[in-house]
Each structure stands twice: as structure tokens, then as C-alpha cells.
């Protein structure tokens, strides 16, 4: 019934105009069609991943049974977790420092802190390769210390993103809240813990998500900094794809996508979608 009693389209109600709907639809297709295809073909009962030959889950079993692939995944998740944690601390401190204090060379530091975002990844990769070679970084450490070089590299390009997100959140902070807390007896540390951290919490969640996904799927820099025993998931997938794109790769990728979606969902749920949207 309601279907036939539509109100006319209001002037600014773009989401109800035909051309806008077509446009949004097209964007969705371009964005998600490849992912959907990847997921569908992970169930394809064929060695060569071109034609649909029936449903199977055997490639999931195969992927999960592939020790090298599982090891690479565990490496990736470990690196991502460590890099996220370190980036959060480092990025937040940098943001607070730049927001709160005045000091010599502030402008220069402010400008260069986002350099790892701007510099082409390939350059960063080469730079890290040369750096770790020059300092003689050991390559024969036991797990998880053998992931050190990659983790350090990941922190370098992840923490500026955290800084950016946190800074934009800090801009909306009412300094009177800080003063109010001090007025009530709070020390600098207590102000930070009780007033500032709660205010930037949505930015911390957003920054952590950003850092985690950036680290998890980084290929170029990782490729240059990984040793012989430190294969990460994207690097492993790349080496598998060099021979042929098997449904095994699809299955592993699908698992990774699902994992990322679940993580994002949890983070959004924990924080409230609105709060995260506020940071941008």
C-alpha cells in the first residue's frame, strides 16, 4: 500500500533520484563485484580458476592444511597486531605533542611526520632494505623476533595514519574540559587518562583499524624487508599466484576478508558507528 503512496522527490533528496541511484549502483558493482567473484570461485571444483565446475569446500581444507600458508597468516596477524599497538602509542603521542605543545622545529616535524604516507611505497621498501642491511640487522632470530624488521617497517608507515586521525579528533576537544579536570584536582596524567583519552577514543579505534588493515595487506614494503623465513600472507599469496590462481588462494583470501569484516564489525559495535563517523 505504502508502495503506491509515495511522496514527491524533494529538491535535495538526491538519494531518490534515478541517476543518483544508477551511479551508486555502478559504484557498488565496481567496488564489490571482484570480491564477490573471488568468494564464489573459492567454492569452485576446478584446478584452473576460470570456469565454474561445481561446488566444493575442499580448497578450504587444502588452504588450512597448507602449513606454509597458515604460518604466513600467523606471521601477518602477529605483525599487524604488534604494528597496530606500537602505532597507536606512537601516533597518539605524536598527535598530542603537535596539538598541545609549542617547540622549535615544530613546523618541520609537523610536515615530515606524514612523509611515510606520501613517499611511494617502493622507495620506502628499498630504503628499509638498505637500512637493515647497513645496520646489519640479524636474520636468524627465532619467532617472533625474526619479524622485527617487518614490524618496524610497518610501524613507520602506519603510525602517521593514527596521528592524522587522532589530530583531527583533538581539534574538536574543548580545552575547558581539561581545565575543569585540573580544577577538580586532577594531575596532568589524570587529565590525560580521564578526559583526553575518552575524547579521542573513537579516533583510536579508527586509527587502530586503519593501521591493522594497512599492515595486514601490505605487500611492497614487506617484500623488501622479509627474510627467507619470514613470509607474510600477501607475499605468500603472491608467490602462489605466480604459478597459477588456484581456488586455494581464493579460499585463503575469503577467510582473510571474513576475518577483517568481523574485526571491523566488532570495533564498530564496541565503539558505536556514530562516534567513528564523527572523527572524519
Amino acid at each position: 500500500m505504502a508502495l503506491f503512496t509515495r511522496t514527491p522527490v524533494a529538491p535535495l533528496e538526491y538519494s531518490r533520484t534515478l541517476w543518483m541511484r544508477l551511479w551508486v549502483g555502478a559504484v557498488m558493482v565496481f567496488l564489490y563485484a571482484p570480491l564477490v567473484v573471488l568468494m564464489i570461485f573459492s567454492f569452485n571444483d576446478s584446478k584452473r580458476n576460470v570456469v565454474w565446475r561445481g561446488f566444493t569446500t575442499k580448497y578450504y581444507e587444502k588452504a588450512l592444511g597448507n602449513d606454509q600458508l597458515v604460518e604466513a597468516l600467523i606471521n601477518s596477524l602477529t605483525i599487524a597486531a604488534l604494528a597496530t599497538l606500537a602505532s597507536l602509542v606512537l601516533g597518539t603521542l605524536a598527535a598530542v605533542l603537535l596539538w598541545r605543545f609549542r617547540f622549535p622545529w615544530k613546523g618541520a616535524i609537523d610536515g615530515t611526520i606524514s612523509l611515510p604516507i606520501i613517499v611511494p611505497e617502493i622507495c620506502l621498501g628499498v630504503a628499509f632494505l638498505m637500512f637493515f642491511a647497513a645496520v646489519g640487522w640479524p636474520t636468524d632470530l627465532v619467532w617472533p623476533f625474526n619479524l622485527g624488521a617487518i614490524t618496524i617497517a610497518h610501524i613507520t608507515f602506519c603510525f602517521p595514519f593514527v596521528t592524522m586521525v587522532v589530530r583531527s579528533r583533538l581539534a574538536s576537544f574543548n580545552r575547558e574540559q581539561e581545565e575543569a579536570a585540573k580544577d577538580l584536582g586532577a594531575s596532568e596524567g589524570q587529565v590525560f587518562r580521564d578526559v583526553l583519552i575518552p575524547h579521542i577514543k573513537p579516533a583510536l579505534v579508527a586509527g587502530a583499524l586503519l593501521a591493522f588493515t594497512l599492515s595486514l595487506d601490505d605487500f611492497v614494503i614487506t617484500y623488501f624487508t622479509s627474510g627467507p623465513d619470514t613470509i607474510t600472507f600477501p607475499v605468500k599469496v603472491y608467490s602462489m599466484v605466480r604459478f597459477s590462481v588456484t581456488p586455494e588462494v581464493n579460499a585463503a583470501s575469503t577467510l582473510l576478508i571474513i576475518l577483517t569484516v568481523i574485526l571491523t564489525f566488532i570495533a564498530l559495535k564496541a565503539q558505536g558507528v556514530k562516534a567513528i563517523a564523527e572523527t572524519h
Partner: protein, 376 residues
């Protein structure tokens, strides 16, 4: 000085400079324990800087501030026996009302059971009993201000500082809060120091008012003294509405004085002003202290003559502007010399506003004790 009027805050020769700008210029004033003190001044006059120096958020460039006899130099805001209600209220948005009010007590390490009692007591005091579980974004501006008040009062400070506490409220609520703040202050007996640019607010709430202009204290007085006996042109003009005429002091004896104001006429006072003879002075005359008459009645002249010699405290003019405000009507009257005088007239009956209209010829008189002679 008696025990009851002991100064809780002593501001001694305090100056504050931000670079080349002098925000507070050699201010000295005492604020007594238990009084409701208001710092009144136009925006940018330095009154908020003064308040922030008492709280400890700014440090004086010169001079010193004593709270309860103790020099506050080197004592950070979190260690001072004062609490502040901020202009934006600065209620912590991520904490419930209870947590907001309990925050200072928790920091101070007060026992849990005592915190509970004191928070409940403070919330009752500001009429927010039962709102404890609310979050700040579920409250109106007025309610958030009450939370900020409770959060400060629960600390039982020696002095409560309020920075423009009513500026963000609408007119009705503001009038109500003025009464409530005065009431609250009497109830808790804590010294309140409020900063405001709103003269009505200052007059209605304060025990004493310090008018601040360009970083200096222009006058320190009770509300009625401030209004009826302004000590300079700035105060006369800033507090209330006023006519200011420039003139020369031609007569100055213990029981009478006269000022000759070009364009207005001779103004007679029934008291001496002890100013230098022939000096340039200013006359401040409040619009409500001028009586308006239809000419030809002869009443004005007779009324004026009762306490002033003939030809004094009397003027004729034409109504050039009128604004009807309900309770009063404001008139702007142009004299023959071209000078303009503002007169307000209470509408004592429902037809009073029909007595006069534009371009009516009118005469005015005022009593000999109404004009205030200002030397500066």
C-alpha cells in the same frame, strides 16, 4: 576590619601582560568571605583573565594573589582551594552526571560511601536529584550548568568561581537562574566570584560589584551605589542607561552646587561636590529620574522650583523618538539647542502610552538630588 568581613581573596597590585597587550593593569581588590562578588565589564576588559588568575590557569606577570591568607604563587590549579564553573560548563561528556560530580572526590581519594552521600547532596542542592544516571547529551543547557555547579560545590571550595555562568541561557531561564544562584550562595555560604558582561545579572545577584575597564578597576561598590553613585563616566554609562552632559562647575558649596551645561541649561544640585571651581565636569542623569509634562500645565515649573531655584533643572523639547516597551516607554527628546535627552516613563495606567506622540512639545524637570556630578 571585623572578623565577619575577613577577605578570603586578596588581589594585590596584580598585572597580566600577554606580549605587548596588558590584560590586567595593577589591580588590587579584596573579596570578603561569604559574599557574592561580581566582576563586571565589557568583553575584553580583563575580567576573565583576573578570574583565571585566581583559579591558577594564568599566572600574574606582577603582583600576588592570596587565598585565605595564603600566597598562591607557584600553586597549580589542582591544588588551590577554589573551584570554577566554566563558561561552556565543560561537563565531561563521557561520564554520567553522578560520575561527573564524583570526579573531584575520587581524585581526592574520598571514601566510596562518603562520595555517594556527598554527590547525592550536591545533586539535590542544584535540584538534579534523580538525574544521576543521565548522560550529559541527554540534558538541556540549563541542566548541564547545574551539573557543573554540583561538580564544583561538592568539593566544598572556599571560593566558587563562575565564568559568565548565564550567558548561554535564554532570557527566561537566565532570570530564574539569577535567583537560584543567589539563593544557592546564601544556602551554602561559599564565597562566589562571578564574571559577567551583563549589568542586570550583576545588579541582581551581587553583594558587591567590581567594574573592570581596560584592565583596571573602575569602581568597587554595592549594586545600588554603583547605579546611583557612579564614580566616573565609564561606570555611569556601562551600568544602566544614562544621559551624560558636559558642563562647567559654577557653584560649589557644602549644601549646593550648580553646573552650567551648554545646550542643556543650568543644573542645580542640593549638595556640594567638592570639585575645583570652573572645572570641566560631567553630569550623569538617569532617564527614569526625569519627569515628562505636557507644556503649559505649569506643573513642571512649579515642581522644579520646589527644590531648585527658578530656571534650573528644567528643559523644553520635542519628542523625536519613542519606544514602547510595555512596562515603560522610552522617549528621546530634542531640545531647541539640538541636544537630545533620553527619558523613560513608567506606564502606570493602561492608557499612559497615549499621552504623548512624535513631535509633541514637552517639558521636563528633575529633582535636585538626581544628577550625579562626575569629575572623570
Amino acid at each position: 576590619m571585623t572578623e565577619t568581613a575577613k577577605p578570603i581573596i586578596q588581589i594585590q597590585n596584580v598585572s597580566k601582560r600577554f606580549g605587548k597587550v596588558t590584560a590586567v593593569d595593577n589591580v588590587s581588590l579584596d573579596i570578603n568571605a561569604g559574599e557574592f562578588f561580581v566582576l563586571l565589564g565589557p568583553s575584553g576588559c580583563g575580567k576573565t583573565t583576573l578570574l583565571r588568575m585566581i583559579a591558577g590557569f594564568e599566572l600574574p606577570t606582577e603582583g600576588r594573589i592570596l587565598i585565605d591568607g595564603q600566597d598562591m604563587a607557584g600553586i597549580p590549579p589542582n591544588k588551590r582551594p577554589v573551584n570554577m564553573v566554566f563558561q561552556s560548563y565543560a561537563v565531561f561528556p563521557h561520564m554520567s552526571v553522578t560520575d561527573n560530580v564524583a570526579y573531584g572526590l575520587k581524585i581526592a581519594g574520598v571514601k566510596g560511601s562518603e562520595i555517594k552521600d556527598r554527590v547525592a547532596e550536591a545533586l539535590d542542592l542544584v535540584k538534579l536529584g534523580g538525574f544521576g544516571e543521565r548522560m550529559p547529551d541527554q540534558m538541556s543547557g540549563g541542566q548541564r550548568q547545574r551539573v557543573a555547579l554540583a561538580r564544583s560545590l561538592v568539593m566544598r571550595p572556599k571560593v566558587l568561581l563562575l565564568d559568565e555562568p548565564l550567558s548561554a541561557l535564554d532570557a527566561k531561564l537566565r532570570a530564574q537562574m539569577q535567583f537560584e544562584l543567589s539563593e544557592l550562595q546564601e544556602k551554602v555560604g561559599i564565597t562566589f566570584v562571578t564574571v559577567t558582561h551583563d549589568q542586570d545579572e550583576a545588579l541582581s545577584m551581587a553583594c558587591r560589584i567590581g567594574v573592570i575597564n581596560k584592565g583596571e578597576v573602575a569602581q568597587l561598590a554595592t549594586p545600588s551605589d554603583l547605579y546611583e553613585y557612579p564614580s566616573n563616566r565609564f561606570v555611569a554609562d556601562f551600568v544602566g542607561s544614562v544621559n551624560i552632559f558636559e558642563g562647567k562647575l559654577t557653584l560649589d558649596e557644602p549644601d549646593k552646587a550648580a553646573v552650567d551645561c551648554p545646550g542643556i541649561g543650568k543644573i542645580y544640585l542640593n549638595h556640594g561636590v567638592t570639585g575645583p571651581h570652573g572645572a570641566d565636569v560631567w553630569i550623569a542623569l538617569r532617564p527614569e529620574k526625569i519627569y515628562l509634562h505636557v507644556p503649559g500645565e505649569g506643573k513642571a515649573v512649579r515642581a522644579a522650583a520646589q527644590d531648585a531655584p527658578d530656571g534650573y533643572n528644567f528643559a523644553r523639547g520635542k519628542i523625536k523618538g519613542m519606544s514602547y516597551l510595555g512596562d515603560i516607554t522610552l522617549f528621546e527628546i530634542e531640545l531647541e539647542s539640538g541636544a537630545r535627552i533620553r527619558v523613560s516613563r513608567p506606564n502606570l495606567s493602561r492608557h499612559d502610552q497615549e499621552d504623548f506622540t512624535w513631535d509633541d512639545k514637552v517639558s521636563m524637570h528633575w529633582r535636585a538630588d538626581s544628577p550625579v556630578v562626575l569629575l572623570g
